[in-house]
């Protein structure tokens, strides 16, 4: 008897909490198909007009492209800098290496708003104009600690002998890194890359404060919010959601699925 009560209580809780988690997303997607000007009940009928409006919106499409550029560019740079630093700190004895590790991780502990403000103040003082480049600089700052930490953590000592063997066979450092270390660490390098693409793609406050005319997608969506509730915002939001879930599924199957089998 007690078991039945606790079981049904568990089920009731699951339904409640999953309902809470999915309610806003379900509403978002449902009313992106609204045949009318307001994305709230009653649901007037099915229409794809707002998706057409999204694809016809030049500013939105430009922002999409900008986000893609900034996310991939800043993530590649963050991974490269993070990998080189991790290689040096894991394979060589450098003075003050604990301090260096601390410095590289430090931006992780400061809120994005403060990082953005500091950069904005310095850029203003040096009279450097804001652009997608400055957004990219900010995104490398927030993603470098992440990439460094992930890659550094995976640089185990068991790889050292393979690298030594490569060196004995005449490979120089760059060759060892590019042909031996990087391929061995590819899963964690890719994990670091995709994680920082995700963060950069969705980052708002740095992109908002450090951009001027060319903006990224979250900033463009933000300016759409000023017009209040609008099914077009639902449509772009649903699109972003569906694309992220699709990418996630592909990654899950391609990257992590393979690892689990072996």
């Amino acid at each position: 008897m007690r078991d039945i009560i606790s079981k049904s209580f568990g089920w009731a809780y699951l339904i409640f909490i999953y309902g809470f988690i999915f309610l806003p997303v379900a509403v978002l997607v449902l009313f992106s198909f609204q045949d009318g000007r307001l994305p709230v009940p009653p649901f007037n009928g099915f229409s794809t007009q707002w998706y057409e409006a999204v694809f016809a919106d030049r500013k939105l499409m430009a922002a999409l492209g900008n986000s893609f550029l900034v996310a991939t560019g800043s993530s590649i740079l963050a991974c490269l800098l993070g990998f080189l630093a991790a290689y040096a700190l894991a394979r060589y004895k450098l003075p003050g290496s604990a301090l260096q590790r601390g410095l590289l991780i430090a931006p992780m502990t400061v809120s994005y708003l403060i990082i953005a403000l500091g950069l904005l103040a310095v850029l203003n003082a040096m009279k450097i104009p804001l652009s997608l480049w400055t957004v990219g600089i900010g995104h490398v700052v927030i993603n470098l600690p992440l990439c460094f930490a992930i890659i550094y953590a995976s640089m185990g000592d068991h790889h050292i002998n393979i690298e030594r063997a490569a060196r004995d066979l005449g490979a120089n450092d760059l060759k060892v890194m590019a042909l031996v270390t990087a391929p061995m660490l590819m899963p964690s390098i890719l994990a670091a890359f995709f994680l920082s693409v995700t963060f950069s793609w969705d980052e708002f406050i740095i992109a908002f404060l450090l951009s001027r005319f060319d903006v990224t997608l979250p900033v463009e969506i933000w300016s759409m919010l000023r017009s209040g509730l609008n099914p077009k915002t639902n449509a772009i939001g649903s699109l972003v959601f569906l694309v992220s879930v699709a990418v996630l599924l592909v990654l899950e199957l391609a990257l992590f699925g393979r690892n689990r089998k072996t």
């Binding site: 999915f22 509403v27 809120s111 700052v141 450092d173 979250p218 969506i221 972003v240 996630l248």
Partner: protein
């Protein structure tokens, strides 16, 4: 002799590899941060910044109630959100770890964090669709005749808290779940052997063992929540501003960078204080 030069050469090479990352962090993180700390000790006059060292911005913060209110609003909202999120996430993580069959657990977790993958801005906006006057909840309640007039649930503190809790329940479920599945079932068996019932086992054994995980997740929630501008700006209305909103007001409308810098430092000190307060429970894992 040759060994030292070899060592020197090796060391120089290593510096070459680590230098780009260090220089990047120095130039675009440390320098801006130090500059901002200095800025907070200067003041604004008209459009210019006066480079005279003083504590005026900090003194003004503590004497002007509108500014101080920002900090207390932030703290109240953040603490409420942190506690509610833990209370909601723990049972979910527990049910997934204990009651859901092993092969379905991964699926259940992925489902529990799926809305995580909408854009952060859009996620707050979608709560507006649910909570606003013509929104789903009000329409539903009026439809079944429970209320005659729409409730004011959007554009206030309740809406901000709901929006935040929604996000952090997902985050905390992940951290608490990963903590729960690491516990050896032997603990529970031992407790049962010693005569503890289910509740006693949970209260005296499971909960204390998962406390470090809970505190780490709660601290993360605190940090991310108190520094966020988007959720309160979209869902919170204009009555009870939080610290990040006030910081944005300083640089937006008033172009008062020194004051914004001072408020940022205060925000950072608050986070540091929270860290010191719960440091003894925090267990930041090292790989």
């Amino acid at each position: 002799m040759t060994t030292t030069t070899l060592e020197d050469r090796e060391r120089r090479k290593a510096w070459g590899f680590v230098a780009p990352a260090l220089l990047w962090t120095l130039a675009f993180f440390v320098v801006p941060f130090v500059y901002m700390a200095a800025l907070s000790l200067w003041s604004r006059q008209g459009r210019d910044i006066v480079h005279v060292w003083n504590l005026d911005n900090y003194l003004r913060f503590f004497s002007e109630s509108a500014l101080l209110r920002g900090l207390t609003n932030s703290l109240e909202i953040t603490i409420t959100v942190t506690i509610l999120s833990v209370l909601l996430a723990y049972p979910l993580a527990w049910i997934i770890a204990e009651r859901v069959p092993k092969r379905l657990q991964r699926m259940a977790l992925i489902l529990a964090i799926l809305p995580f993958w909408t854009s952060y801005v859009v996620r707050s906006y979608s709560w507006l669709l649910v909570l606003s006057k013509g929104g789903v909840i009000n329409q539903a309640l009026m439809g079944i005749g429970l209320i005659a007039e729409p409730l004011e649930i959007a554009s206030n503190r309740t809406a901000t808290v709901i929006g935040f809790v929604h996000f952090f329940v997902m985050l905390l479920t992940l951290t608490i779940y990963s903590n729960l599945i690491q516990l050896s079932p032997n603990y529970r068996r031992a407790a049962a052997d010693l005569g503890a019932n289910a509740f006693q086992t949970f209260w005296h054994v499971i909960l204390p063992l998962t406390l470090p995980g809970i505190m780490t997740g709660a601290f993360l929630t605190f940090v991310l929540c108190i520094g966020d501008y988007i959720t309160p700006q979209i869902l919170g209305g204009n009555n009870e501003l939080v610290l990040p909103q006030i910081i944005m007001l300083q640089i937006g409308r008033r172009a008062d960078f020194p004051m914004a810098a001072a408020l940022s430092i205060i925000l950072m000190l608050t986070v540091t204080a929270a860290y010191v307060l719960c440091a003894r429970w925090l267990r930041i894992e090292r790989a």
